[in-house]
């Protein structure tokens, strides 16, 4: 079963534990500036929104890469960057409509979320379950359940 990162912004507090966990897994240091997942603060609106790669099926980044440095991990569905092949041309960063693949000036290659090989650290680190790792086919399950619960009689409604 493929799983996907599920993000529920209304639960996010902006603590950045996910950014630390992500960068520690990828870089061996706590370094939010190198995190594959980013938390955006919308001050006026009073909202925090996590954002990262959604692992498109027909991934723009993968198709755009001229040297085939971005490949599918069949076990996880993640589109992974092969550092040794990447030439740092940045075409993928232009092709990605969501901005979730980025260039790293220290290494001269690009980097993106690889789902940590199937055990994403961001989801484990999130203290409020704003980021979870769920069945790809049923990402809407909890939302459906919440709407379904509205049909219950008032006094027994549980959401």
């Amino acid at each position: 079963m493929l799983r996907s990162l599920q993000i529920e912004p209304e639960k996010c507090t902006g603590c950045l534990q996910c950014e630390m966990a992500c960068s520690y897994e990828a870089e061996g240091v706590f370094n939010p500036s190198k995190s594959r997942i980013k938390i955006f603060t919308f001050h006026e609106e009073g909202r925090f929104v996590p954002y990262t790669c959604t692992q498109c099926s027909e991934a723009w980044c993968m198709h755009a890469c001229p040297v085939e440095a971005i490949v599918i991990n069949k076990a996880t569905g993640a589109k992974e960057v092969i550092d040794d092949i990447c030439v740092g041309c940045k075409v993928c960063t232009i092709a990605c409509p969501f901005g979730t693949v980025n260039y790293n000036q220290d290494t001269g290659t690009v980097y993106k979320c690889d789902l940590c090989g199937g055990d994403p650290e961001c989801a484990k680190a999130c203290p409020t379950q704003a980021i979870t790792y769920v069945d790809s086919d049923h990402g809407g399950l909890e939302r459906m359940r919440a709407h379904a619960a509205k049909n219950l009689p008032q006094d027994s409604a549980q959401t």
Binding site: C15, F30, N31, P32, P127, T128
Partner: protein, 617 residues
Amino acid sequence: MSWTRNVLRVNLSNGSITHEPLNMQWANDYLGQRGLATKYLVEEIDPKCDALSPENKMIMTTGPLTGTMASTAGRYSVVTKSPLTGAIACSNSGGYFGNEMKNAGWDMIILEGKSPTPVYLYIENDKAELIPADDLWGKSAWETDELIHSKHQDPMLRIAVVGRAAEKGCLFSAIVNDLHRAAGRSGVGTVMASKNVKAVVLRGTKGVGGISDPAKFFKATEDGKKVLAENAVTGEGLPALGTQVLMNVINEVGALPTHNHREVQFDGASKISGEAMLEVRASDGKANLTTNGACFGCTIACQRISTVDKNHFTVKDKPQYQGNSGGLEFENAWSLGTDCGVDDLDAVTFANFLCNEDAVDPISLGATIAAAMELFEEGAITVKETGGMELKFGSAEALVWATEVTVKGEGFGLDLGMGSKRLCEKYGRPEFSMTVKGQEFPAYDPRGIQGIGLAYATSNRGACHLRGYTVASEILGIPEKTDPLVTEGKAALVKAFQDATAVVDSAGICVFTTFAWTLEDIAPQIDAACEGDWSAERCLEVGERIWNMEREFNLAAGLTAMDDTLPKRLLKDIAAKTGPAKGRVNDLGQMLPEYYQLRGWTPEGVPTDETRMRLGL
């Protein structure tokens, strides 16, 4: 190691910027942040210097856990000599600035001297430069933040900044980072402005590493997070209601100072409480509180993010104040609300926004306005001074007006900006000033909570709840319940809280963790991150060493045991009129001698040679 071991020294007088290694001997003795930066300050300045002269220095400092995955580990402190108290100042802030400083590679940034013209300090990892800030001088903290972001075209900059109040000499100016987190107390922002520094701007991309034992560290920090999540205060109360969970509680126990401490209970408390912030407004269908939020790394998330009702008189024609911003914490709701007798939640929220916008300590501001209101009601201040404003208790208009003129440094606001002690002296009624060592009280009345009176009287930075929060024990029963109306045992309680807090403030984590954590939870996290053995016992000894070092700085600055006292109003003149403490004053005299003795100080409050030797001072 989890220190970066690097110190950035900026001489503002001649513009030189140098790098130097951290003194690791001192790091072993004082841990980091509050303790370690105070050690640097003590070694480098004359305690008798004028706090606003170039001789004073200002240190921004992180702890060894800052920037790591330990919960709440995003803190930094500002250490300097306070212009408000003449004593040591150490103000702690959250947000994302401390983490960024650590990521840029710095344990400490030392600002010394005075720039001939306004500047801001721009730091990008190893690179640091002073950039002219003439165009930013005269701008609010919020405007400055926006202008610097847009000038550098970099939304990821983290900025700590002073507002207009600091430029005009307001003695309780703060340093605000990330728009609404503040190194709030004792006028650290005033010192920064006196050096002609408008902002410190950070961009750090190096990462925080060097964890001594990663496996142990992740285990210890995971365990810690679990304790926080399962605790009723840190896992439920603080995320839901913030520190405002306390407004109704403290009112009920009769320890909520009201009308400049003339009363200990406030009829309007529930209207400005954490619960009130959740109530849906009739006008726009929204509650005051939009959501809670977290500082960097924090798994508690007690921040309030709020709006003012768009139809309220304070923001009606001002769209720039109609969005979300940092909402009310208990201390601010108390000082701007309760102490001034104002129960208008929107007015108090708006006044708090203004304090953030221009980086002013809302505790000192509210308490000073409350003193001014009493001066006005007693006729010592008249409409002549206020330009026609009726500065009366309970008036939301007066509160907002007084806040506006103070944060902008205009007219009577310059008088208010001196703080309650100097204001009351100027207008001939010094007994109206509710301060210790010149710093205004926070939100707990020493008549209803006896131990906190001793904590205020002996706090090294003047009246403060964050130097020994015995309220935890006396009201909330953490770690165990003591009777708030009893003085017996409070000397030992105060000492224990003071020493433990000094360690927490030196580690890079938030003191709110101690609602759930003891040093037995904290020491393993420090131990795993740092080299050497950091047991709870060693941590406590470091805390005691820090406390005594701060004390010695104050003594050398000219303070004496005479300054370890409370205003007469609380000791003698006005007993609690209502509530469980009715008829009580604070019995400081029953606690202070024992406290000196437990500390190993002489009856004059001076550390004995034996104590100094024991602590290696």
